[in-house]
Symmetry: C2
Subunit: 188 residues, 2 copies
Amino acid sequence: MPKAKITREMVIDAAFEVARETGAENVNARSIAARLGCSTQPVMYHFARIEELKRAVYEKADRYHTEYLMNVKDPEGVMLGMGLNYIRFAIHEPHLFRFLFQSGYAVGSSLLEMMDSADLKPILDIMSGAMKMSTEQTKEVFVTIAMFAHGYASIIANNSLEYDEKTVAAHLERAYKGAVSAVWEEIK
Amino acid sequence: MPKAKITREMVIDAAFEVARETGAENVNARSIAARLGCSTQPVMYHFARIEELKRAVYEKADRYHTEYLMNVKDPEGVMLGMGLNYIRFAIHEPHLFRFLFQSGYAVGSSLLEMMDSADLKPILDIMSGAMKMSTEQTKEVFVTIAMFAHGYASIIANNSLEYDEKTVAAHLERAYKGAVSAVWEEIK
DNA sequence: CCTTTTTTATAACACGTGTTATATAACAAG
DNA sequence: CTTGTTATATAACACGTGTTATAAAAAAGG
């Protein structure tokens, strides 16, 4: 049994780069084969259906995105930092952003379900501590910031325009301050 | 010169309905012809390139969207009302929403350019009056609400899930209150 | 009613993509 | 070195879409 020259991982990596550079709609047997300098057979050998390959690329993109968001130094400003990273991702990886959020590959969970997911729990706890708020209050601020960041990011990813990160940061910060003060207002 | 049984407008209308019901990616000569109960020729007769038809459908969708947003009774709550309409549109017309904002047909203007567009000026003035704020302050609140609404709407349009308008309205209202108080904070 | 022009129908071709068939090449085991 | 399995190459088919060719049908003007 000769071992494959073209491994499954090589196929995924090539497809990921195609998706990243030109969009996931360009992931197909022939384009990936061309990038690997081989025929379409190695691709079809590892993935009987192209759909499977796209799913694998989606999952890789999802991991990359999560890692990208997590890259926050200051634990005091986790929410703001993650929000900014969310938008920066859209600026630097618009094709991946669109693949992740506009291609129908995402598992369909509603916003409110997402808020209660196990993955988010520890992050919300960290934010909660840094912001000196209850988990419920933190969630409220988070929803506002998440929607704001997603909206901003969506516009950027779909219009491939230059955006000044300073301006974006200023807008995000204002939204953040507002969301926080809205929570304090509710108490009074 | 016999008059056409299938008019240009009938073609656009049929294409609009296809886009609205099943997505703009399904607008093609054969699907439109089938809906009109004719061959592909009447379609190609009025639109030599399918791209032209899609552009016409885009413009119709754009007008429909604008009209949808404008349907606000209470002039006191224009901004909130328009924000809610923006999200409601995504709930009820997800395919049109995606066509309008995620298909690459939108003319590429940056957010800040859009804020200074002539179309928006009168609306901002109305909001400004109702909110007892300067135009600059109104713009600041508007950016926050617009991004929030667009983010919320994008998530809804891309996940085809049921959303409770009451819940959405509550979230939007909180974001609105926060954005307003953030502006007042800046003054102090 | 006939002619001319316009509108429509039918059919075909080009091209990209998914997928499959067939055969060759390469390697591990004996 | 032979052999059998595996990995790859080449080629082909199916199918959907854009587009074009050709000709028939239909109406307006005379």
